[in-house]
């Protein structure tokens, strides 16, 4: 189980010329991407991309629509076995994914959603898995909602359940593709706080795709701007005293016209 379970040896017609390994040593980065190429047609979507993520590091990926953000994330999640490409991807043994939609099974109670596949994957007993699931729900502020149907929760609550589902697996790597994209501004701000708390406690490496420059700056240790399948810029917000300048710089890297106002109204990259 320890090696190459990334599922890329798929039975697909065009196996990717790629090696994938799991479980890097202690001082090595948690995620190592080397020379990663993915192409649906002739134009590569990911173009010889290299990326390292240190253990516990939070990397936010920005990029205009179609720049290959989701493709990169799916490669790390092992969800792209039928996409032609090459390169190496090394990820930790336990990876969790948070999707843009909460992706809860509507026919399973909230707690059952959180512990979906948990007992079998971790060797926990059913009772222990349920206890862990209930604890994770409490962590995201949903104690007492274990027996609710997902359809009875608000969008933000559903996304919190999906966070609990990811965190209860104690992932070493958390992948999130626009996890808060469908939420309103206030809920999103709340989720940022919650996410930071949770990450502080669980300390996984994180790769989060977002359209929101400010979200990236607030949450991430490192912001990576992807353009046409390559890294066009990367910045560590902590290195910047002047957050406005950083913002402007990132927006420029994204190809958004600079506005003279320090806080222009459109905050997000046009999709």
């Amino acid at each position: 189980m320890a090696q190459d379970t990334r599922g890329l040896r798929g039975s697909g017609a065009q196996p990717q010329a790629e090696q994938t390994t799991r479980g890097p040593g202690h001082d090595q980065p948690s995620v190592v991407v080397r020379d990663l190429v993915r192409a649906y047609g002739d134009e590569p979507v990911l173009d010889h991309l290299d990326l390292d993520i240190a253990a516990g590091e939070f990397v936010a990926i920005l990029g205009r629509s179609g720049s290959g953000k989701s493709t990169l994330l799916r490669a790390l999640a092992g969800l792209d076995r039928d996409v032609p490409g090459s390169g190496t991807v090394t990820v930790p043994a336990s990876v969790s994914v948070v999707f843009q939609d909460s992706r809860l099974l509507p026919w399973a109670k909230v707690l059952d959603n959180v512990v979906l596949g948990l007992a079998a994957a971790t060797g926990l007993s059913r009772a222990d898995a349920h206890r862990a699931g209930a604890a994770a729900l409490a962590e995201v502020g949903l104690a007492g909602r274990e027996r609710a149907w997902p359809g009875e929760l608000s969008g933000g609550e559903q996304q919190r359940v999906s966070l609990a589902r990811s965190l209860v697996r104690s992932p070493e790597l958390l992948l999130a593709d626009e996890p808060f994209g469908a939420l309103d501004a206030l809920t999103r701000t709340r989720m940022h706080g919650l996410l930071r708390d949770l990450l502080e406690r669980h300390r996984p490496a994180v790769l989060m795709v977002t359209h929101d420059v400010d979200e990236a700056i607030v949450l991430a240790d490192r912001v990576v701007v992807l353009d046409a399948g390559r890294i066009a810029a990367q910045e560590r917000p902590a290195d910047h005293r002047d957050q406005h300048a950083l913002r402007t710089h990132l927006l420029a890297a994204l190809g958004v016209e600079k506005s003279s106002s320090p806080t222009p109204e459109p905050q997000e990259v046009p999709a």
């Binding site: 992706r103 099974l105 979906l116 948990l118 501004a185 400010d214 957050q243």
Partner: protein
């Protein structure tokens, strides 16, 4: 931290008109909904038309405007029903009819589910099973009756088999469709949480296909009633349909009416049971119907 401040500024401004917009939307709603809808349902709406028909029937029979040989008076139907029950004739025939449709339903549902699972969960199964069934779909069930009589005679076997055939098709089609239309997003989720194939089927595929199965079951129950009526009028020696056929040869219109009422009650009850089952099993779903 200055980042948080930069962040909070424009955000809170956007928040300003969030609630106001939605309040405006709530204000518009009543007007918009009354314009296109039929208006409020009133109490006993369904009974109104039925009541009117019954009133015509009663007055027509009482005044002698309706010939009792064409349409017996309601009270004749009721007393005939009571007679049939007290002599035990109705129960006897009803028991036989119920047994036939129950057997047909059990066999039909089982076969439909098994075939749907085989076809829905494996490529080979799909290749082998789905084609023939799609061909069968274009042949009306009752057109098979002469063939079934030749093969199985005119006994109970033929009757149960005919009903089962009427039942398995809707079960197969809707269950298969349910299995095949599992949302690809849930397949992806199952991969990321590393579900085994067995767990995937149990947790995702089967519950996802349940609404389809239950819809199929509603059609199946209707189908079994239809098949029951037809087979009972073909060389039967017992059953509600037989009782009605016999009444026809003696010109006992009121017995035919009792039979119709029994069929109606049977059909309605069966559908109500399935709907109850549906509500129970799909309580997670906020349905627009019902």
């Amino acid at each position: 931290m200055s980042a948080a401040v930069t962040y909070a500024g424009p955000r809170s401004r956007t928040l300003g008109y969030g609630p106001r917009t939605s309040a405006a939307a709530t204000d518009i709603r009543p007007a918009a909904s009354t314009r296109l809808r039929l208006g409020r349902p009133f109490r006993g709406a369904r009974m109104l038309g039925i009541g009117a028909l019954a009133a015509i029937w009663v007055t027509g029979s009482a005044t002698g405007l309706i010939d009792p040989r064409i349409l017996p008076a309601p009270w004749t139907v009721v007393t005939t029903g009571i007679d049939l029950v007290s002599t035990g004739r109705l129960q006897e025939n009803l028991a036989i009819s119920l047994q036939r449709s129950a057997l047909g339903l059990v066999f039909g549902v089982s076969i439909g589910v098994v075939l749907a699972l085989l076809a829905g969960l494996s490529r080979l199964g799909d290749a082998l099973i789905d084609g023939p069934i799609q061909v069968k779909r274009s042949i009306p069930n009752l057109a098979l009756l002469p063939l079934l009589i030749l093969w199985f005679g005119i006994g109970e076997d033929m009757k149960v088999i005919t009903i089962a055939i009427g039942v398995f098709l809707p079960i197969y089609i809707h269950t298969h469709n349910g299995l095949r239309s599992i949302d690809a997003r849930f397949v992806e989720l199952s991969e990321t949480v590393a579900l085994s194939r067995a767990q995937f089927v149990r947790r995702v595929v089967l519950p996802g296909a349940l609404p389809g199965f239950l819809l199929g079951l509603r059609f199946a129950v209707t189908g079994s009633m239809l098949a029951l009526v037809v087979v009972e009028q073909v060389n039967a020696t017992a059953g509600i349909g037989y009782m009605m056929e016999l009444a026809r040869t003696y010109g006992q219109t009121e017995i035919i009416f009792v039979g119709l009422v029994v069929y109606g009650v049977l059909g309605y009850t069966a559908d109500a049971v399935v709907r109850l089952l549906q509500r129970r099993a799909l309580s997670w779903r906020k349905t627009l119907e019902d």
